[in-house]
Each structure stands twice: as C-alpha cells, then as structure tokens.
C-alpha cells in the first residue's frame, strides 16, 4: 500500500478510537457530542485517503456530503442539548439516567471524595486603625478627620 494512504488511514483509525474513548468517558453532554463529531471527521478522512489513492474525485465528493451531514447533526444536536439544559440546568449526562433500561441500576454519581479540610488557615495581621473604634470622617474642607470614640 502507498505509505501516505496507510498513514492517513492509521490517523483516521486513531482519531476514531479517540472519539469513542471521549464519548464513553466524558460526562459533559456537549463534549460527548464533540466526540461523535470527531468520529465523523475520522470517517470522512478515510474517504479522502482512498480518493487520493485512486486519483478519483468521488472520495472527495462523499467527504463533502459527510461534512453537510455533520453540520445538520451539529445543528439538531445542539438544539437538543440546549432544550435538555433548560429542563435541568445542568450538562451532566447522569441527570438523565432516568431514561435507562428499567432493569439497570442507576449510574449514581459518586461524589468525588474531597481532601480533608485544612486544619489551620493563614492569618493576616490587621493593619491600620479599626474603623469601628476610630471612625474616619471627611470634613467639609476635604481633610480626613479622625474622631476619638
């Protein structure tokens, strides 16, 4: 096989695998959607590679069609994501786990165990005069005037 064709096909396979890993592991709905777009772009790259291999323009033509389908998908998918966001005010995909199969257990969000709160916090030394003890007032001629309590 032509090394350039082989390399392009391998790149497409890698991008497809990256897309499926992103789709399975991400929890943000928009990023899951972007992963699907990545997989679609990888498939379009296969068409380009074979089109360049055979010096044939039909591969490019099918890639143009895929590009069109991808933009349709992006429009509808984003509209769906926005309407889902308006329902629950979160992009978390686990918020929609009610839609699962009835015999499945809920994919309950296990809260990430936070570190123990820090025992002591740094303390800043108060500087200047305490305004409750020594209120500062601006007199009529603009000078600062300190009133003794």
């Amino acid at each position: 096989m032509n090394p350039a064709t082989f390399q392009t096909l391998m790149l497409a396979a890698t991008l497809f695998a990256i897309g499926i890993v992103g789709f399975l592991s991400r929890k943000n709905m928009i990023l899951m959607f972007l992963s699907v777009e990545l997989m679609l772009a990888a498939v379009a790259m296969n068409f380009i590679a074979f089109g360049a291999h055979y010096q044939n323009y039909q591969g490019q033509l099918f890639a143009v069609l895929i590009l069109t389908i991808a933009s349709c998908e992006a429009a509808i998918g984003l509209a769906l994501v926005v309407s889902l966001f308006k329902r629950k005010a979160t992009l978390d995909i686990a918020a929609w786990s009610d839609l699962r199969e009835t015999d499945r257990e809920a994919n309950v969000e296990v809260p990430v165990e936070q570190n123990e709160p820090i025992e002591s916090y740094p303390v800043l030394t108060p500087a200047g005069t305490d305004p409750l003890v020594n209120p500062v007032r601006v007199s009529k001629d603009g000078a600062l005037d300190t009133l003794k309590a």
């Binding site: 096989m1 350039a4 390399q7 392009t8 096909l9 790149l11 396979a13 890698t14 991008l15 497809f16 695998a17 990256i18 499926i20 890993v21 399975l24 592991s25 991400r26 929890k27 943000n28 928009i30 972007l34 777009e37 772009a41 790259m45 380009i48 360049a52 291999h53 055979y54 010096q55 044939n56 323009y57 490019q60 033509l61 143009v64 590009l67 069109t68 389908i69 991808a70 933009s71 992006a74 429009a75 509808i76 984003l78 509209a79 769906l80 926005v82 309407s83 308006k86 329902r87 629950k88 005010a89 979160t90 992009l91 978390d92 995909i93 686990a94 969000e109 809260p111 990430v112 936070q114």
Partner: protein, 198 residues
C-alpha cells in the same frame, strides 16, 4: 514528512481533547484536531475539502459549540467535568477498537496507486453538478429540514403547552436544579472554605 507532522499534531490535540478538564480547552483542542486534519487533507490532494472543513468545522461548528458551552457553563469547574465515566474501561475499549482497525488496515491489499495528477477543484465541481446532482440536491434539502428542526426544537423548550398537561407526569419547571449528591458535596466544600463558594 509534512503528512507525518500533521498526523502527530492531530493525535496530540486529540489526546488533549480527552485530557483537559476545562471543557473550553477541550473544545479548542478539538478545533486544533480539525485544523491538523485540514493539513492532512491538503497533503492528500483535497484542497477544496481542506477549505470547506476549516470553514464548516472550525469556523461554524466549534464556535457554536463554544457559545453553548459559555452559555451553559459557569466559570467554575463543574463536578461532572472533574471526573470521568469509567476511564479505564473506555480506554480499554478504545485500544481494542484501534487494534482491530490496525489489523484490518494492515490486512487489506489494495491496488497500487494510480499515477498522480495534480488535483483540480473544477473536476470535483463538475462531478458534483453532473453525475451527483441529485445527491447534492437531496443533501441541500436535508440541510433545510435540519435548520427548521433545530428552530422548532429550540422553541419547544421555551414555551411548551403540553408540558403541564402531560398525563400526570409533572415535568419540573425549567431551571430548577435537582438537589443531588453533587450539589451537597459542593455545599460541603463551600462551607469548609473560609471564603465560601467563590
């Protein structure tokens, strides 16, 4: 050589797309993947496709995605962006898929490449508007339908009269966050901090 460079760039940006926590960075590295992909397209004699991908993906799709992300996302990292859904298993599945694809690509034997003639966009246009004219028309129609569908779906979410009368199922009013374990955790973290939840 340049093809290899662009491929490496695409793969690195793809790994960044998986690894970044901040979703904005992920979307931007997706844009980087698509730009590197455009370089690969140019190397593969498809200059028109490179320009079209750059305009459609990077110029339109990514920007719209970024708009939605900014509209939906607070500046603070959300809890669901910090963790991954079964990361080990998804990487294993991805590696399996990649190894199958690798084996398949090594296995296939295709004819030796045709003699190289420089690519001409006019040839692609000729093909598009003679042999495949109906395909192009149908895809254009699909684009129109998708536009209408997107408008309808986005409108339904705003004022859906069926929402309240839906057969006893009380669809919770929009924009009421469900108190979940994550919210409680966030509250606990906030109370542990001296400055509260900034």
């Amino acid at each position: 050589m340049l093809l290899f460079f662009y491929s490496c760039l695409a793969v690195f940006a793809g790994v960044g797309f998986l690894a970044f926590r901040q979703p904005i960075y992920s979307a931007l590295s997706f844009a980087a993947v698509v730009l590197a992909t455009c370089g690969v397209f140019v190397m593969n004699d498809a200059p028109y496709l490179a320009a079209a991908t750059m305009i459609v993906y990077t110029g339109a799709t990514i920007i719209v995605f970024l708009f939605v992300l900014m509209f939906a996302q607070r500046s603070r990292l959300q809890l669901y962006d910090l963790s991954r859904n079964a990361p080990v298993w998804s990487i294993v599945i991805g590696m399996l898929l990649f190894s199958f694809l690798f084996a398949a690509i090594r296995e296939i034997s295709i004819e030796p490449p045709a003699p190289h003639v420089p690519s001409q966009v006019a040839e692609l246009g000729k093909l598009m508007f003679t042999d495949f004219i109906w395909t192009v028309e149908i895809v254009g129609l699909l684009l129109l339908v998708a536009t209408i569908a997107a408008i309808v779906i986005a409108q339904d979410a705003q004022n859906d009269p069926a929402e309240k009368t839906e057969s006893g199922i009380n669809v919770s009013p929009a924009l009421v966050p469900v108190p979940s374990a994550s919210a409680q955790t966030a509250k606990r973290v906030a109370s542990a901090r001296p400055g509260g939840n900034r």
